[in-house]
Symmetry: C2
Subunit: 220 residues, 2 copies
């Protein structure tokens, strides 16, 4: 696949003309990185000074709660950009652990090149602002939505709010007591709700771990 076809897979470049993408591909300092299966890509706390575009392969994303008492593991396939909001703003560090699950290929673009692309290409500039603004709008709207009417819905909302992407397989490494505390409910009630979901084949309960084969099925 030619480079501009690879870039076109990403919303950041969508809507750019063939000619503009040729210029981007030809005149932007692009890095090409390969990470072997099982190897780390970026870890929580690492400085983010480049955009990482996953163009091939599958990665694992693990996120830890602030007190490190629970974590969530997700999988993501190409095309995917690692935390595009981390390259600007007050906290320019990754807040997830990214590990290659298969051999993974990345195109990287330095921050200064991203800033320059935003200067030179109107469409890129609009794409960047629109992506950021959309993410903010979605997050700002959450507290105003109708609150869940049942514990089952509260459990599902907890899962969704703790995922980078609202579909695919997820592993929650969390104790039931902690989940109960987060939901302001009793451990017994939470256990019942989880067992109900397990009975419907929507998740599997293990010791200190909840496996969700497809998060999107919980939302139906």
């Amino acid at each position: 696949m030619r480079i501009y076809d690879q870039l076109l897979q990403f919303p950041l470049f969508q809507g750019m003309s063939h000619d503009d993408l040729e210029i981007v591909a030809g005149h932007t300092r692009l890095g090409f990185t390969k990470v072997g299966a099982g190897k780390p890509v970026q870890m929580t706390g690492d400085a983010c000074s480049q955009l990482y575009f996953l163009i091939n392969g599958v990665i694992k994303i693990e996120t830890f709660s602030e007190d490190r008492q629970y974590s969530v593991v997700e999988q993501m396939s190409a095309p995917y950009i690692l935390q595009q909001e981390a390259i600007f703003g007050y906290f320019q560090r990754y807040t997830h652990d990214f590990t290659a699950l298969t051999d993974a290929n990345f195109i990287t673009i330095d921050k200064e090149e991203v800033v320059r692309l935003a200067e030179e290409f109107l469409v890129f500039r609009l794409n960047l602002m629109n992506l950021y603004a959309t993410q903010t709008q979605k997050l700002l709207g959450l507290p105003w939505r109708r609150c869940p009417q049942s514990l089952r819905e509260r459990v599902v909302r907890f899962f969704v709010l703790h995922c980078v992407y609202p579909a695919g397989p997820k592993s929650f490494h969390i104790l039931m007591t902690r989940l109960a505390e987060e939901l302001n409910d009793s451990r017994l009630n939470v256990s019942r709700a989880l067992n109900m979901l397990q009975g419907e084949g929507l998740l599997e309960l293990h010791r200190g771990r909840i496996e969700i084969p497809q998060l999107e099925r919980l939302l139906m």
Copy 2:
């Protein structure tokens, strides 16, 4: 106050050189709008096609829950920009009611001019992306913070999550049963927690309304 001094009050223009700000003030199509006390500025659902910079006066911001069953009223003084994230993204409409409390003066800048400023001025471009990214980073971090250990803290977190700005006077128009539902706790417990806060002079309870004189005092 000269125009570039007025613009300099806003983070969006901070760090720009005197010369650049002269150019912005001289070459940007700026609108000047005055809204009389008591009059609406922008309402929920209105299209956002300009940035509104409040340069003088005090406005009221009212936000409604999605089901319109409760609302929150805040006050904001100049300098303040009305929902700078609403000018880009997937939902380019206001999600609050903005009303002038005193006579209020605004500078307005059309979206196309904002996009052009982001092209021409590196500092403006970086400011815009940094503001957006910071807002996203803060919101993305919320679910991962240690959950409140007491009902009192849950109540306070509810208040803070439903405010545009985490300080100043706020009125919550909400029934105690709804607040209890949102917090997954009993009406009686919520009533006790609120009465405790009232006893400490941190808020006042009225029928269907909670008055908070200074939100920041709840956070101490």
